[in-house]
């Protein structure tokens, strides 16, 4: 998990300032700013929210309200790799819940949790647009589909 340093906070400030020209209001930059905070710190940290607030003038309470409304922003530290597994209807009928059970059984990984070695976190997704190749997941920013237990093992091997 990247530390909160003055350099990283400066990088976030610069990024938010660069985004300003793309939107007609200062508040308009909030979503891309929160994404940038995640990239820099691994999650939307309280320090990042303070920094975005100081640049945009939007109160921290409002920013927290926005950050927690959207399912994809991480508001707490996560594992090194994030598994976002879909269990919605198309994935469900092709066996997604068997994969959820397998992740718990083999890796001790429960929905919303992180493995004890900090390697993986698991998030259950509400559709990732891969219904035709279900069941599917996003691992960090990579997409994997037609998953089976074996394929899941093979894929996870590549993320240390």
């Amino acid at each position: 998990m990247p530390q909160v340093t003055a350099d990283r906070l400066r990088l976030l400030r610069t990024t938010v300032c660069d985004l300003m020209g793309l939107y007609a209001s200062r508040q308009g930059v909030l979503l891309p700013s929160l994404s940038a905070a995640e990239e820099i710190f691994g999650f939307v940290s309280p320090e990042a929210i303070e920094e975005v607030s100081s640049v945009t003038g939007v109160p921290t309470a409002e920013i927290r309200g926005v950050a927690t409304f959207y399912a994809m922003y991480k508001t707490k530290p996560m594992g090194r790799h994030i598994i976002q597994l879909c269990t919605n209807v198309s994935c469900m009928i092709e066996g997604a819940y068997d994969l959820v059970a397998y992740l718990e059984e083999k890796y001790g990984l429960t929905p919303g949790g992180t493995t004890s070695d900090g390697r993986f976190s698991l998030i259950i997704m509400e559709c990732i647009g891969a219904c035709g190749t279900a069941p599917a997941m996003i691992l960090d920013t990579d997409s994997y589909d037609n998953l089976t237990k074996d394929r899941l093992d093979t894929v996870l091997e590549n993320y240390k």
Binding site: L31, F69, M72, S90, I93, M125, C131, G132, T141
Partner: protein, 421 residues
Amino acid sequence: MFEKIILKNIDDPHTASITGYMAVGGYKALEQAVGELTPRDIIDEIKSSGLRGRGGAGFPTGMKWQFASLDPKFPKYLVCNADEGEPGTFKDRPILEHNPHLLIEGMIISAYALQSTRGYIYLRGEYPHAKKVLERAIEEALAKGYLGNDILSKHFRFNITVHSGAGAYICGEETALLDSLEGRRGQPRLKPPFPVNSGLWGKPTIVNNVETFANIPYIVSHGAKAYSSIGVKDCPGPKLFSVSGRVNKPGVYELPMGISLREIIYNHCGGIKDGGALKGVIPGGISTPIIAPENIDCPMDYVHLPKYGSMLGSGAVIVFDDSVCIVKVYERAMKFFEHESCGKCTPCREGTAWMRAILERIERGDASERDLETLHDVAENVAGKTFCPLGDGAAGVLLAAMKIFREEFEYHIKNKRCKAQ
């Protein structure tokens, strides 16, 4: 033989780059539009084509554009809704990831017609690869002079920003999408005023789906008549159908509007997987009511499906065979609706949670016959009483499923297990 318009070059790996796209005639329609046509000409052509928005509502595109063009306020914003978050829907993904310039060209022509100088692509956060592809394509279009401050040296200015959503289904609803673009929680706005008059930052704003924009270059280059010769009366053109579930060949198919569900499932998708029997079909994404097997000859378009008690929605077909438990399907679907309710109105916020809790009891084998009555009652009291279509859709699809598969719900309660397993 039906000639594809949108997915014509989708398997060509070069089409994602501007050189590959131009090699197959890309950006010719833009050159023609800016060089030979007035904005009014283009709006008239789109109106004549009969194109209806492909995001789900099916509103006539040309009419929407005309409303915005007649509004004297400036600037005018152009927004591409690329937030396809409806479970079952992945029809826009091939365009976004493999043919981004088709979308960009469609947006630039639309911007010229509307005299818009600023566009946004609101992209679902679950498509990180598409973001990279789109940003690269925008850079390429800028370098070629198709975007920027003096497009094709015609004093026409237009720029596009890719804006990533962050996992909120409600942001597919156009006014919630606009709130999200303004940096707020995505909650729907009261209409009127409609976005065409008061949208992004209170200015006239056109919100169109990816697939809608992808039709524009063809209509400009081939004319409204050629376009409206495809499909059916009142719903012309091709339609992208994303098919998933228990079929042999799931995927995205471009087919004429009005094609039947039967043809999609059996002629194009290779029939039911593992020799199972067809049990039901969701025709347009999870918020559209399920269709019973005896009705699969229904034409897939905005006009005919309502006569069969359903809707075309986004064209996301989910097929169930007899191995699938309908109670389980709607329990999972209701979890989704509860999770995605934005919380703005009570019937949706509380009703989806209540319906999910009862469905869980039925699925778990802990429900009584009275629970079924309560479930029906709650659904009827949510349907038609919510601020936006999310809660209404959640209740409507459950009521349809309870009507068609009533016996299965009752079996579940009586036998404390599923009939399908």
